[in-house]
Amino acid sequence: MFKKILIANRGEIAARMIRACHELGIETVAVFSEADSDALHTRLADEAHLIGPATPGESYLRGDKLVEVAQRTGCEAIHPGYGFLSEAPAFARMVRDAGLVFIGPPAEAIEKMGVKTEARAIMVAAGVPIVPGFQSSTATLDDFAREADNIGYPLMVKAAGGGGGKGIRIVHQPERLTEAIESARREALHAFNDPMIFLEKYIADGRHIEVQILADMHGNVIHLFERECSIQRRHQKIIEETPSPFLSDDVRLQMGEAAVNAARAVNYVNAGTVEFIVDNQMNFYFLEMNTRLQVEHPITEMVTGTDLVNAQIRVAAGQPLHFSQDDLCQRGHAIECRVYAEDPGNHFLPATGPVLRTVEPAGPGIRVDAGVVSGDQVTIHYDPMIAKLIVLADNRADAIRKMDWALAQYVILGLTTNLQFLRDVIQHPVFVVGEATTHFVDDYLSEWEPPETSLSDHVLIAAAIGEMLKQQIAMGGRNGGCNGDQYSPWARTDRFRMGQ
């Protein structure tokens, strides 16, 4: 087993990976940009090293610097997490060539799956159904327009090198195609350094359902069932759950097998996710394979009782999987909500600023994977996700109730967040009966606004008492220091008392 691992990421996933390493007795080395000098991951790791300016291209995406820090600090392996360099074959190769272990799939598998257009061809050969579409590296705008007419509208323009909802456009009318292609290319070039795009039929009322797989170096490939991720805004998932409330057991098994076949087709090793779109007839089509850990991996961990990051590290160290397909079942129901610094009442525009205080919910079956806690900053440089809130309960109805309670208990002061929006989603009748599709937010909550309530006197009283206590601290109290704690507002001998 490794003794020291470099954590090539930031935010909640860096914290998640550091925790998994420490549980295994592995030391961790964090890296950070100038904007992250005091970020959570730098405080949790055993060491932290500055690698460059805030712009990801000059820090977290600088593979050469990551490898250099890993070698200098005596790391044996690098875990990329998700995003950043996690799906960059050149980086996986660079790590391998430096004599280090890349905790993820072989560069060749990332490469094959990373170019969405190539992945589609491999899936066809492996007998996995794909969504009708058009791809060509030499096509002109006219070619695209002609093929688009064949596919039919609405359709999607997608970045070949894309992910995370970036570089995706839905086009409803032919007149909008050129603009969408150009805009998607620009965004793709900027985000992935690859302007190639392809067209794909837009499946109306589709559900986004993905299958987690795990493969070791000894030929074992297993799946850990599905995750349904239909609740999205701006093509980014915000709520995921498992099991899917939609799938039949038959189709669930077929999708699991298809995912294992997809992984075998590219000689996959380590954790990966095969994404499918499922239409209302329960036909499923391959969308793409994410050759890395997913943001929403905790719900799978919750229902299967596994630790995927732990498994990733063991697999990368050459160990065989320590559980088999037959060991796995889905116990109970898990839901994840992504808590974002953003304004759901204003097109989900990101919010930035200091987080003055967070209070995380806790209790049986409640897990918080946070990247931002009290005193931290949400900056413009990185994704505005604050935390993932995950619950596990015996069944879906109880999981929804538990999530509602946990969201209500979650306190985040100083920033606009989507906490209230998330509560409204999980309480929505369409979500409650399990019939939400990827259209859900657009169909039912596009005009969402915070609940209109007049400010209650209780809020004003809480504000005034809070302000009063703060002022008393600032003044140090009239007799501050008499009990040895000059900062305590209670170190006073006047009429002000508590606990009557």
Binding site: H190, P350, D457, L460, A462, G466, M498
Partner: protein, 174 residues
């Protein structure tokens, strides 16, 4: 002690008085409440208000940009909600949104990726004026009204704060 707050352009006054038995009285308008602190530390309050429990978290911060003091309150109970109030000041009043129509402000902090118009250009309503980027997302800033670009405050490559003025559009006479 008097505390003043503003939310949604409405001002509120809260007067707190300490009673002999350590409880507080609060006066808001013509309403009066008896308050007992069960356990309270800065930022975290367990109160009884007229015998009803209130569990709240509070924090406040002065904005670097506007100098306005913002108060954040979260009530943690069945109807859990987050609130934001400000301490009213004369500048806060004059800087309230709803300035001259045709003034375009950044809705999010970000970087100006591209500016597609120049000062003096005539634009149509909905026309894309510039492209902002934050967290690798493109946001197109469009003209809220038809008219002439009378001032342009954004330059390609600049970083803008939320609420910063980007451009002013003067409607053309019919």
């Amino acid at each position: 002690m008097e505390y003043r707050y503003r939310e949604n352009e409405t001002d509120y006054n809260v007067r707190l008085e300490t009673n002999d038995d350590g409880t507080f009285s609060a006066y808001i308008g013509d309403r009066h409440y008896e308050i007992r602190l069960q356990r309270a530390q800065p930022g975290q309050l367990n109160l009884w208000i007229d015998g009803r429990r209130l569990h709240a978290y509070t924090a406040s911060m002065k904005s670097d940009i506007t100098g306005v003091l913002h108060h954040y309150i979260a009530l943690v109970d069945r109807e859990a909600r987050h609130y934001e109030l400000v301490t009213p000041t004369s500048t806060a009043r004059s800087q309230r949104p709803g300035a001259a129509s045709g003034t375009l402000k950044a809705q999010m902090p970000g970087q100006v990726m591209d500016v597609l118009v120049a000062e003096g250009d005539t634009v149509e309503q909905g026309q894309t004026l510039m492209i902002l980027e934050a967290m690798k997302m493109e946001i197109r800033v469009t003209a809220p009204t038809a008219g002439q670009i009378s001032s342009l405050n954004a330059r390609k490559g600049h970083t803008v704060e939320r609420g910063q003025q980007l451009a002013t559009i003067t409607p053309l006479p019919e």
